[in-house]
Amino acid sequence: MMSNPILKVENLHVNFNTYAGTVQAIRDVSFDLNKGETLAIVGESGSGKSVTTKTLMGLNAKNAVIPENSRLIFKDRNLLDLKEEEWQSVRGNEIAMIFQDPMTSLDPTMKIGMQIAEPLIKHRHIKKEAALTRALELMKGVGIPNAEEHINDYPHQWSGGMRQRAVVAIALAADPEILIADEPTTALDVTIQAQILTLMKKLQQETESSIIFITHDLGVVAGMADRVAVMYAGKIVEYGTVDEIFFNPQHPYTWGLLNSMPTTDTQVGTLEAIPGTPPDLLEPPKGDAFAARNVYALGIDSKQEPPFFKVSETHFAATWLLDERAPKVIPPVQIQKRWAHWLEMQGQEAY
């Protein structure tokens, strides 16, 4: 798994200048993405996960400011140095994106086949006919029945699930190395969600592309991701393999997210919401941004920002609770059960 990464994000900061002041949407985010893996970025709305994806696509709004020490290394170059024309040869070609809402993401006045063919015409420089032939294959590949009959349809003639398949086909058209999926199933029915996720997994195995999967829903992460990064208030607070995050979580925010997620063995009445709302990133709080909502907050949390503490070779968490001076806290019951399960997985006895 730990082969050389295809994408390295280093010290990413993104600020937005607004009339009320500067919003610090991304505050020092670093992560790697390996070839063929799926990295899930999980967080509440406003945690900066969508800004991260937009930055990776070079699609931030004009008022975004990215400091010079931020780096996005992809194929030996820093994407943040690219000019707009150079970005255009990356977007949809080497890095592609699956959008959230299939009802509004397709151009209502253009035939779907043509919309799928567009990236091919742009990046592969092939004729319209050839591109449409390939678009037809893609439509079959994403499971659109009787694709031949529907290649000249307009989006309004299709259901949401079918449209999202078309959006997936558009993203896959030019065989991108990295696929960014921004909440690709949020707008869909549960049954359709599962179909789209299965489809993405299958296509990933066929094409060996890497996926960055953005979601607020830990539930869909379990079956999809190899690794998970949890974001809060513009920072990554914990990252590790999917098993480490699900069964050995260390950050109280991750505990909160897991606790607010229903599982098959959830007892009635144990589903808990995290109290409060994320901080306003116009004036990010001093120290640990989560401290104000954290029932396990330490005195130091409001004074100094926690560094990443190493849990394992692949698992890091930014919480003072992992400092050797910190008292041993007892996590919520649900988390204790997960920890117990983790120990079983490690072949050890629970204490």
């Binding site: 109290p275 409060g276 116009l282 330490l298 004074k303 001076r325």
Partner: protein, 344 residues
């Protein structure tokens, strides 16, 4: 790096949730927020003050320029006072009482040649029977604004009542009422205005009615659409389940929540009404002479455009500037009420 003391490693827990909910942006109500955005639009603010001044002027001018004054002329001295060009008393070219007739090389001082007594001057000139254009225009503006504003208020009443009723009742009532609007709006406004103008005669009231009969369609359509969406809102459903009467719900919940849209629509209706008043005057269905409106002043003087352009251009300019101010303010209000515009 580690400068912390051991006492920092004590659990203090979450802060109370009030501190959590702190939002750095100042909280503004809908109207305050709209006002803040409107103030950013300089043209709209200028238009608003301009309109306030114009309306105040129209009301106050009743005292110092009564209608009789503006209509009166001395039939013995028409030859002396007729068609005098605007004279500011200052040597401003084109505004000094001199006029260059077409074909002439030098301009002549009309005040001198017609034998107007020294010291007497008309700041906006006189018309073809020697009445002061300034006074005529003051009265004309008054009448035009009166016609337009009253017609718009009638539109407002009919349109809101019709729209709320249709939208609230829904079903076949809404359907029928929609068909009626559809039929009426496929008949050109000009025809409806002309027919009513013919039927009701030349009084100010009949002009107001004729104009009001066409303007309410747009208002009714918008209000009906908004009612349809508002009546599904929780607070309306709650009021309903509490047994509030439909009339009370309309007054307390529906209309206040569409006030923004209604205000914008009103701002856009006034210039249309001003324009239709002028159209009626031009097709001989306007105010009865000697009463003046901006429209009647324009159409009466139009034949003399080549020789006395000021008699046409002055009321035209006033009509345009007033309409423009309403449109600019309407645009500004539309942007101010539209939260999507706040990102700019």
């Amino acid at each position: 790096m580690m400068t912390a003391n051991t006492e920092d490693f004590v659990i203090v827990g979450a802060k109370n949730s009030d501190a959590n909910e702190h939002i750095s942006k100042p909280a503004l109500s809908f109207w305050q927020d709209a006002w803040r955005r409107l103030k950013l639009n300089k043209l709209a603010v200028i238009s608003m003050w301009f309109l306030i001044l114009i309306l105040a002027f129209a009301v106050i001018s009743n005292i110092f320029v009564p209608q009789k004054d503006a209509n009166a002329f001395n039939s013995d001295k028409v030859g002396v006072y007729k068609n005098l060009p605007p004279n500011s008393g200052l040597p401003i070219p084109g505004w000094d009482g001199k006029i260059k007739a077409p074909g002439d090389n030098a301009s002549t001082d009309v005040y001198e040649s017609q034998g107007v007594p020294d010291g007497e001057k008309f700041i906006l000139g006189t018309d073809n029977i020697g009445r002061s254009v300034a006074k005529r225009v003051t009265v004309g503006l008054r009448i035009s604004l009166l016609v337009a504003i009253v017609a718009t208020l009638i539109d407002l009443l009919i349109g809101v009542a019709y729209g709320v009723f249709a939208g609230w009742k829904g079903g076949w009532i809404d359907n029928t009422m929609q068909r009626i609007i559809e039929i009426l709006s496929s008949i050109p406004n000009l025809i409806i205005v002309t027919m009513l103008g013919l039927l009701l005669g030349n009084g100010i009231l009949s002009i107001i009615l004729a104009i009001a009969m066409t303007g309410w369609l747009g208002m009714a359509r918008q209000v009906r659409n908004m009612t349809l969406s508002l009546k599904e809102r929780d607070y309306v459903l709650a009021a309903q389940s509490l047994g509030e009467s439909s009339f009370k719900i309309a007054i307390k919940h529906l209309i206040p929540n569409m006030a923004g849209t209604i205000i914008v629509q009103v701002m856009m209706t006034v210039p249309t009404a001003i324009m239709f008043e002028a159209v009626l005057s031009a097709i001989n269905l306007g105010v009865k002479p000697p009463t003046a409106s901006l429209g009647s002043l324009i159409s009466d003087a139009q034949a003399m455009l080549q020789f006395y352009p000021y008699q046409v251009l002055i009321p035209s300019a006033i009509l345009v500037v007033v309409s423009l101010a309403f449109v600019l303010l309407g645009d500004g209000l539309r942007d101010a009420f539209d939260p999507r515009a706040s990102e700019d």
